[in-house]
């Protein structure tokens, strides 16, 4: 987008850091447990042991062609927590978490809502869509997001539940506060970010 102000994506991360509100999540079934400390700089290697469970998870949910709605959660949710999604049934919506610790500029979170474009999730082929709705205060500060996603590829029974990125408060404030983009995301989180960006662009 053409702008003199910082890019909107750059604005998103500090806004989330300030409000401390994470983005909605339904854990993937084969999500590896967090291992060691994160790597430091380039050419360094991490000490983390490789998690060989990335794939081939037997506890796969059945194909669910209906949309699932995921409510925003607070950043208090730890990454290792498995949401109730890890069952054969479709994931129930996560409950709305209480407001974040850092007070937003105004209290009317949800005074403004914008829905982003329905974004295809593609990796070699399309296997679903995700659509993100952001909530903002009347001052335009992003304070929450919900995501709806839908799978329509009956061949990929594995992909009924998706990991949608949570921006953990520590990460957002320590590392994400001035990030213009991210590399290495899954196809789902990329689609999520794209839909999220298109929602924020409307604010």
């Amino acid at each position: 987008m053409s702008n003199r102000e910082p890019s909107l994506l750059r604005r998103l991360y500090p806004a989330l850091a300030l409000t401390g509100v994470g983005l909605g999540l339904v854990n993937a079934l084969d999500r590896p447990a967090p291992t060691g400390a994160a790597a430091a700089g380039m050419l360094d290697t991490t000490g983390a042991t490789q998690n060989s469970a990335a794939g081939g998870d037997a506890s796969v949910a059945t194909t669910v062609p209906t949309p699932n709605s995921v409510a925003a959660q607070s950043q208090g949710t730890t990454p290792a927590t498995q949401a109730p999604a890890a069952t054969a049934a479709p994931a129930p919506p996560a409950t709305q978490a209480p407001a974040a610790t850092a007070a937003p500029a105004s209290n009317d979170c949800g005074a403004v809502t914008k829905t982003g474009s329905s974004t295809e999730i593609t990796w070699r082929r399309s296997y679903g869509v995700v659509q993100v709705t952001v909530k903002a205060t009347s001052a335009g500060q992003v304070c929450g997001a919900t995501a709806q996603y839908q799978t329509y590829d009956s061949k990929s029974a594995r992909y009924e539940d998706y990991a949608v990125p949570i921006l953990n408060k520590q990460v957002a404030s320590a590392q994400g506060a001035n990030i213009q983009g991210v590399s290495g995301a899954t196809a789902v989180s990329q689609a999520y970010q794209q839909s999220l960006q298109s929602a924020i662009d409307q604010l």
Partner: protein, 228 residues
């Protein structure tokens, strides 16, 4: 291929100028997609696979890409290949074309007089000029073990960032030499001057595993961050 590009510009330009530059980028990406997509039966790659087009009769861009991939296969001892295995005849250069096409299309931004921009597609970035304030662009690298976390970030004024790994849960990058999935790393991020080569080297290093970290050292200007 198959992903959309996002363009971010920090120059002080009109909306019309930005739109013109962005349109040029997307037109070029569309044009290249039509030539290379294996999902389109009328693309040159599909026709080469079908036997109705000889690769030497293909468009110059296709010939260039196939030549580059042949070189890469040779210099990586087969870790990078556009064929699924040594004896396969069907080619799929999508992995190479992803970074190559983005870099090629990004030239339109400079041609439209823009000096501070980055183009992102599927987690790969071409970056130019840093921010107008003088700060570099900063790209976070997602932790493949936990997509809510970053393993770090890189500051780039002009250059590229690419990460190879599983973009789809449960899928694998295959080692064309063995037919087995590559499992040494969870992800490999490469930075350097050219997205085409960041992307290609990231894929090759991912397949090679530990020896790849030494292998990439022969290419000046490229740095690597593996996550195990």
């Amino acid at each position: 291929m198959g992903t959309t590009a996002s363009i971010h510009v920090d120059d002080d330009v009109s909306r019309e100028s930005f739109d013109a530059a962005a349109d040029a980028v997307h037109s070029e990406l569309d044009r290249l997609e039509a030539m290379f997509s294996v999902f389109r039966p009328d693309s040159e790659i599909s026709r080469i696979n079908a036997g109705s087009l000889h690769h030497l009769d293909a468009s110059p861009e296709v010939v260039d890409v196939l030549d580059a991939c042949a070189w890469l296969e040779q210099v990586s001892d087969g870790a990078f290949s556009i064929r699924r295995s040594r004896n396969a005849t069907e080619i799929n250069p999508s992995g190479f074309v992803k970074g190559w096409a983005a870099e090629r299309a990004s030239h339109a931004l400079a041609e439209h007089g823009l000096n501070h921009w980055y183009l992102g597609t599927g987690g790969d970035y071409v970056l130019h000029g840093g921010m107008a304030s003088g700060e570099p662009w900063r790209i976070g690298i997602i932790d493949p073990r936990d997509p809510s976390m970053l393993v770090g970030s890189v500051d780039v004024k002009s250059g590229a960032v690419a990460t190879s790994g599983t973009a789809e849960r449960g899928s694998h990058l295959w080692d064309p030499r063995t037919g087995e999935p590559a499992t040494a790393f969870l992800s490999v991020t490469v930075t350097g001057p050219s997205l085409t080569w960041c992307d290609a080297y990231a894929t090759a290093v991912f397949v090679m595993g530990e020896p790849g970290l030494k292998w990439i050292g022969r290419f000046p200007g490229y740095s690597v961050l593996p996550v195990r």
